[in-house]
Subunit: 111 residues, 2 copies
């Protein structure tokens, strides 16, 4: 069984990255932010099917991972906005490559 024991293991950084950005709804939320939807209601409107609980939970995780930054705008009433950090902005190439693949291989859904 040496053949099995000695094989090259998956890079743990790749694995951590894909588990992070592949978490349900995360990809769609990242795209909404990249497209300039910076407020909670706008992100939610851009992602059909996304619940309030899940959006709040995902934004918190993305903040904890330093991918999203939460900014409190001192207006009246106070506004909260969400922005991609440099780490989050750098996911643009990943998003583009998935878009390219999906437009080649995933059929257009029926209306």
């Amino acid at each position: 069984m040496g053949e099995v024991r000695d094989i090259h293991k998956i890079c743990p950084r790749f694995h951590a990255a894909i588990e992070l950005i592949g978490a349900r709804w995360t990809g769609a939320i990242l795209v909404a932010l990249m497209e300039g939807q910076n407020r909670y209601a706008l992100i939610k409107a851009a992602v059909p099917g996304l619940s309030d609980t899940m959006l709040a939970e995902r934004l918190r995780s993305l903040e904890a991972e330093d991918i999203v930054e939460r900014r409190v705008i001192p207006s009246t009433p106070v506004q909260v906005e969400y922005y991609l950090t440099p780490k989050g902005q750098d996911l643009e190439q990943v998003v583009k490559s998935i878009e390219t693949w999906s437009h080649r291989w995933i059929p257009v859904p029926q209306a």
Copy 2:
């Protein structure tokens, strides 16, 4: 609320693609296949923590999505091998972009 109602919705093909390849363990299994691990035991050895149940389930899903092809080799005993289809091979650019990002932003895990 016109601002909210009229906003550009996330592309459903992108969303389907990232939910597909972002499913837990799927990314790591795809990399193992890209690196030439074509047998069940070799894929499992390449992905630490992956259970038998989960690997079998993921291979079935990837087959159903036409990303992985299962080949039965008529040897004695019969051998089963797994290969990426053209649709699966075309994910190489996606995998590379995630690798690049992860090596820039995800710290090397402690041993």
